[in-house]
Subunit: 422 residues, 2 copies
């Protein structure tokens, strides 16, 4: 990693800038795919699967037997691991369910919020070399807890771990559809794929672009996506080989992964650089990782205050605090997706099984967005009930305000009731 | 209103469809405005204010004296009403703040979520005949409760009620800027207007289009906007004149307001129609209201089950249940922005002062979106801390899953730590 020593604050914005991606070219390729699926439904999906992936799809839905058989195809260690991850994710997310609490804001005026699971949601899981069954858990568990009635899964992968996880989280229908056409199928509905109200999940730039385009048409999406990121703040209590391993675990996602190391200790930065070289060589994906590490930055700063300001300006998806007073520092972090404290909390624990969600805001979106949680799968509907006495108390307030906003019919809706009580 | 008797379920979708708006033409007008403000900052804002509104802006910021003096310019009745609304909204929204709860998902693995106010948020309030000071309260109170550090207000209106409300909710800076250029100023920042991370508030189609465009560039927005809506379900226990008043209070928002009345009683529908005629004549905005009522629908259906299914399919922004068993029915509603129960809970109470928020999902978005709440102004950051024993418990689970996903560096981040403990 290139070490950048004591950059001035004026340089931070440039130093921390993410690569800007021009999405227009991709959009122009994706828009016709969406239109095709909208117009021709299942037929378009079959044609596109053949055109792009040379796959002939007989049935779009995974047969029930495939879901049932998945468990038998996995070895017990992996099956147990998936079950333990499922339990931990469930334990953490179940505390996010909120009870209804009625609030009397004035005598006779009672208001409350009820959480209702979004009726129909869709989950996309990409194919490729790495079958992301962990993401099935991360999106399926909160959907299950939220009480979503229909949970649709689209994935081009038939890896048994994906189907096993889908069964665990109660996916109601699973389809063997990949790419932008899968997003279109869930956004518009086809003869066999139900239309959903919100779409979740990672994907390549075509999938991401499809999600952005359908979101303009009123289908909700989890959040805007970008390359994965980690920022590590380490001091001399950090173990350089652990830090190096964490940086590499981010870097192996791809050459566009964003990796940032910050410290007030030059010694630590040098030691991590040394450890990186040793570990990188042993990785099967070392080419990818090497390129990401080449593009990454190790920043040496003066003080802890500088570190905190810099980290808040960057707003990392994952933030590892390998420092003596990690929890204390975490309280000063206002922009991050998820924070990992101390020497024995590697990011990969959160990626898989500690219980927190791994679908997190990238690209600086942590300034305004949260990671996925049960909140992402519910709507909160407000309800209010006013008694006759309540309206006597509240009515004049509403009449005065409606009149001042020149909304006479709003005022009248109160006045006509109050008059009837005279 | 046109009464539609016993439509078949197959017809519902057409019957409940909202008018589709083509946003491309507006986008083409708005995009250059955004680019102009991005490139030329304050100067562009001054030029655009002169070009579109013939306004010469000396200072973009409202002078501190204007904020201070606002209270003196309001009569006491209105000031008291605004204060009472402020207290009720605060009471209701303050219960949405969530305490941090640490959760041990496995022995030695502790995870939690902390809510942090979005550091910089922007509120837009349109000008025009009706000064929407109520919206300043509806957006400003949750921002204040969330602990947002910088709350920017842009509005072309200098109505003292807006400035008074802004002071109450702790707006940190207020600017006399209207239209798409106000959204651009807050999205990109200018010499005087700070850049914010999330933009809230209503506006005309130019403002709405500007919000959609900047959201594609990574600035979060409250929710997609559309014309305001009410659906009323009334039975023979409803008072026809009250129902008519509620329908008109929606209709006066504009000719594109969506108004829907559903009942199993033909008698009720006819009585409401009669009451509408009488009340409409007395409204100052009667032309607007008449056009909205003309486009609206009264639907007669067979059964309560039909009503509930139809209302859930429509997903109204506001839903008034003027029926005997209103609370019971409300429990079966899964798609709505806000629900009003019984004869003495007119929508206008929620619009102004009952305590619930009036920024709600329109255009069917209630299927996946919630109204504005404190949640809209915070991010929830997850934090995790794992002890040595915790990593011994959790590590093997993560190793097995990372290996199965072919992410070796992820596995290694755990293995290197476990090996160091041997």
């Amino acid at each position: 990693m290139k070490i950048i020593a004591f950059p001035e604050r004026g340089q931070w914005a440039n130093l921390l800038a993410r690569p800007v991606q021009d999405s227009r070219e991709i959009e122009e390729k994706v828009a016709p795919i969406l239109a095709d699926v909208k117009n021709k439904g299942d037929q378009a999906i079959r044609e596109l699967a053949f055109k792009f992936d040379k796959v002939t799809l007989d049935s779009l839905a995974f047969p029930a037997e495939a879901m049932e058989r998945a468990a038998d195809l996995l070895d017990d260690t992996l099956k147990d691991a998936i079950q333990q991850a499922y339990r931990n994710i469930r334990t953490f997310h179940s505390k996010q369910l909120q009870a209804v609490g009625k609030i009397e804001t004035m005598p006779g005026v009672t208001c409350w919020r009820k959480s209702v699971g979004i009726e129909k949601v869709g989950i996309y899981i990409p194919g490729g070399t790495a079958p992301l069954f962990s993401t099935v858990l991360m999106l399926g568990v909160p959907a299950q807890l939220a009480g979503c009635r229909e949970v649709i899964l689209c994935t081009p992968s038939d890896h048994p771990a994906i189907l096993y996880a889908a069964k665990l989280v109660g996916v109601t229908k699973a389809f063997r559809i990949g790419g932008a056409q899968a997003i279109a199928a869930m956004a518009y509905g086809t003869e066999t794929v139900p239309k959903v109200y919100k779409i979740f999940g990672p994907g390549n730039q075509y999938v991401t672009s499809a999600k952005m385009l359908v979101s303009k048409e009123g289908v909700a999406i989890d959040m805007p996506a970008g390359p994965s990121e980690v920022a590590v703040y380490a001091d001399d209590t950090a173990v350089p080989s652990f830090v190096a391993a964490d940086l590499l675990s981010q870097a192996e996602h791809g050459a566009d992964s964003q990796v940032l190391l910050v410290s007030t200790s030059k010694k630590l930065l040098s030691a991590v650089n040394l450890a990186l070289v040793g570990q990188m060589d042993r990785l099967p994906r070392k080419d990818l990782a090497a390129r990401a590490i080449e593009n990454s930055k190790a920043i040496l700063v003066e003080s802890e205050t500088d570190v905190i300001d810099l980290l808040n300006e960057y707003a990392a998806e994952h933030l590892i605090l390998s420092v003596a007073n990690a929890e204390k520092i975490s309280e000063k972090i206002i922009n991050a997706g998820s924070i990992f404290l101390g020497n024995y909390t590697p990011e990969s624990c959160g990626d898989y099984a500690s219980g927190t969600n791994h679908t997190l805001p990238t690209n600086g979106h942590a300034r305004a967005y949260s990671g996925v949680s049960v909140d992402s799968f519910v709507k909160k509907i407000t309800v209010q009930s006013i008694t006759v006495q309540g309206l006597r108390n509240l009515g004049p307030v509403v009449e005065a305000m409606a009149e001042a906003e020149s909304l006479d019919a709003h005022r009248n809706a109160v006045s006509i009731r109050l008059k009837s009580l005279e």
